[in-house]
Subunit: 261 residues, 4 copies
């Protein structure tokens, strides 16, 4: 079976890119389940219930997220109620929403999804390695097919979690840096791995933000109000091919879908 | 003309990979100048004069570096004397060595090289954007062909410097994360750009380090003595094709050279 | 001559404390010049022109600041025009306002004031040590009496700047942590030093913020809207006694003024 | 009953200060239990079994510690075996040693001690607030007299833990910054609180380190080998007076013991 995982959808440029090309990608790759990281869908900062619905309507089955998911307080009740929207599982007890779930494809295949957030250069969350131990175990009781979205900054932490879960999950893919890495491969234990899937939005930008504003920020070190860039939209994604019986990955293919402006 | 830029060479695994394949790569791509980041050549931590000579003997013309270049104090006099070894230019005045230079290919083409280090999640160095302004200006008085190795952690800072220098240098390539990115392209102003070239060393590892040790570190949060991994060596590099008259990039090609174990 | 330096004024609680007790403190200690750090005067986050005028009306002669001075964009023109309001001098060129000045007491004594910000655990500003070298030199051409407000987090960086400027300025006092230190003393070269003056505001709080909100933030790791606390107001300050001829400090006395609720 | 808590003992200067004055302090204040933070006793970096014994021989009853306790690997077996030596309790499971214990004074009074480490600007440990919840509960089953050493950098985190535990423990005192704060007081719920006790060692220094070396580090941003300073030794400590029946603090007195050179 095949999963399409789409990297952080950034603002209108990202949503338009999906609107224009997602159904084509699903057909071309014969995708069974579409997962997208939606933490930047609302003008680069967070998500709203309306935008989540828009993404579901475009063909996304499950949304994962990351540190920006808390940007809009009005989302919190929706996080509680919408089972197809995940936030990183390793926030302290009491955070709205959930970080893992099992979802069934239209062909009836159950897929476990786990969302985690890194700690290096980020917040003081619970240990993602130990939280993964517990939740992967729980998911494995329901299905051998498990996808982990590890939303993290440091390549070392992402690679280490990949090694740590190798053989226990179908795939560990990274998000958050908004730049796709060229290291997609299947680890010795059968887990597909890619440090970062990249982002879906304007490529002629600084990780999705208008480049003039990003440069101004680095030069001035003063607060700058960021705006999402518009030109040169791309979808950064990855297609994971997984053996349904064993949950082992048999293929991982990086996808770059470029839209003419 | 063509430059081969090789990402951080990590320990013996990285040096052996170059020993086995560098001359072949030079031939295959008809390379005029070979630049490699050598900050991790000495067992993952720093560089020595002997290892620098070893890398020059293997065909490297110029070595750049980064934050780890200070790991071995015995290197400091060599940094002062060896013009073909650069350290990031934006260290405070008084640091041993230099961060930029002009080097001439065997065909007589002068190439300016500038090494910078990022500040996001790293040290409090001088502003890499402003140091680049000054040193790019200086280099452009000698040659239009200029390569920048931006040794930095954050994708945002790297992308912003690429945009900032677009049209003023031939290429901005990143190092430090040890993972190659799949975003190599030519920016609108004619500058080749790639967020990170990746590393040259053992791929079956956590960014070059034995994976058991890296996982132990993340689990225990105690000091762990790191050792360089050995298996599954790769060379991560990029071939830059540059118009000699204008200095504009006309091609950028990511290179992954895999060695059978 | 005597300078009263008042630590970060936090919100209404801090302003009310000054309103109630500043004139008394000036009389009691026979103060020639009053300097206060105003970066948190506007509900804990930044400053406005109106609040600056309010503080001047209460008897403050010069306002210094720190990282929070940029919180309110509407202040920027005022920063440009009001010579008695300083922001840290080591922001990159182009930042609004200025970081040093010479002010004359009513008795006609010129006092140089320099505001700097630390980099450890803070932003990537210009080196405060080197900026101090240049600006202290400039101020010394006008007066031997020089006060430095070093707005910084790490005790090591603050102590090191104190040692570095010892004998060149009259006093180095720290701000930013909002907690007064008990290490006020005169260093061997004649410079008065105190790691942090503390804050002026509600003491029954977490550094000026309502304690329930601060605890909630540490427990949840989610965004929490902070509000300034009100109860148990104190003024944290220091009285510096300086020899007018030499600029050497002859006394440093910590001041804690407690208000009955 | 009275507890003397001594801030981070830094190198030989700190040990000599205790050797010369600890017994006098114990007598003067009629101390029942002496607790000292020993994380820097070994030349500024860590502790050894021999030095721990030296400190016990000088009159210290219990040693607490912090992030530097892991500097010397040879200490780890001793950490496991010596019940009177604590390391922060909120390291991940599997760390050598323990973070809390109950100790009995010579008069037979049981005192619970809990050592925690902060996370802001420090490592990604387990949540100190939640670990405190569990271990304070456990200690309270044995004694109402409980002392917490919170080894942390940020004043906000320290103040927040003080508020959080107010009324549940006898005292929360901070360590790690090596500078004593002047905010010792009894919180509304009866818990004695002080943000940082300061260090025991050379005051004519940068937090215990030779000042020339610390300044060199800030100027050069290169690795500098630190050495402990020697001159102007002080003991920074605090005397806690606690009601034995209720565990409530009835007094907190900051102590600065200066030794003539
Ligand atoms: Fe993102
Ligand atoms: Fe993110
Ligand atoms: Fe490296
Ligand atoms: Fe590096
Ligand atoms: Fe402040
Ligand atoms: Fe501040
Ligand atoms: Fe310490
Ligand atoms: Fe410490």
């Amino acid at each position: 079976m095949k999963i399409l995982f789409i990297g952080d959808v950034v603002g209108r440029a990202g949503r338009l890119a999906l609107s224009s090309r997602l159904s084509r990608l699903i057909d071309r790759h014969q995708i069974d389940l579409v997962v997208a990281n939606g933490e930047n869908a609302a003008a680069g900062f967070g998500l709203t219930a309306d935008l989540a619905r828009e993404l579901y309507d475009l063909g996304v089955d499950v949304l994962t997220s990351g540190n920006h998911i808390w940007d809009k307080k009005e989302l919190y009740p929706y996080l509680e109620s919408q089972k197809r929207l995940l936030r990183p599982a390793n926030y302290p007890a009491g955070a709205p929403g959930r970080g893992h779930g099992v979802y069934t494809t239209s062909a009836g295949i159950p897929v476990g999804i786990l969302n985690l957030e890194g700690r290096v250069f980020m917040g003081n969350l619970e240990c993602p390695f130990r939280v993964a131990d517990a939740l992967v175990e729980e998911l494995r009781r329901q299905t051998p097919i498990i996808l982990v979205d590890f939303h993290a900054e440091a390549t070392s932490e992402k690679a280490a979690l990949g090694c740590y879960l190798d053989g226990r999950v179908s795939a560990v893919v990274g998000t958050h840096t908004h730049v796709p890495t060229a290291d997609e491969r299947i680890l010795p234990g059968g887990t597909a791995y890619m440090t970062d899937v990249g982002m879906t939005g304007s490529r002629d930008s600084v990780i999705g933000i208008r480049k003039e504003l990003a440069v101004e920020k680095f030069l001035s070190l003063l607060p700058v109000r960021f705006e999402v860039a518009k030109k040169d939209s791309v979808i950064c994604a990855v297609v994971l091919t997984i053996d349904e019986q064993t949950g082992r990955a048999v293929g991982i293919e990086r996808v770059l879908e470029e839209l003419a402006d």
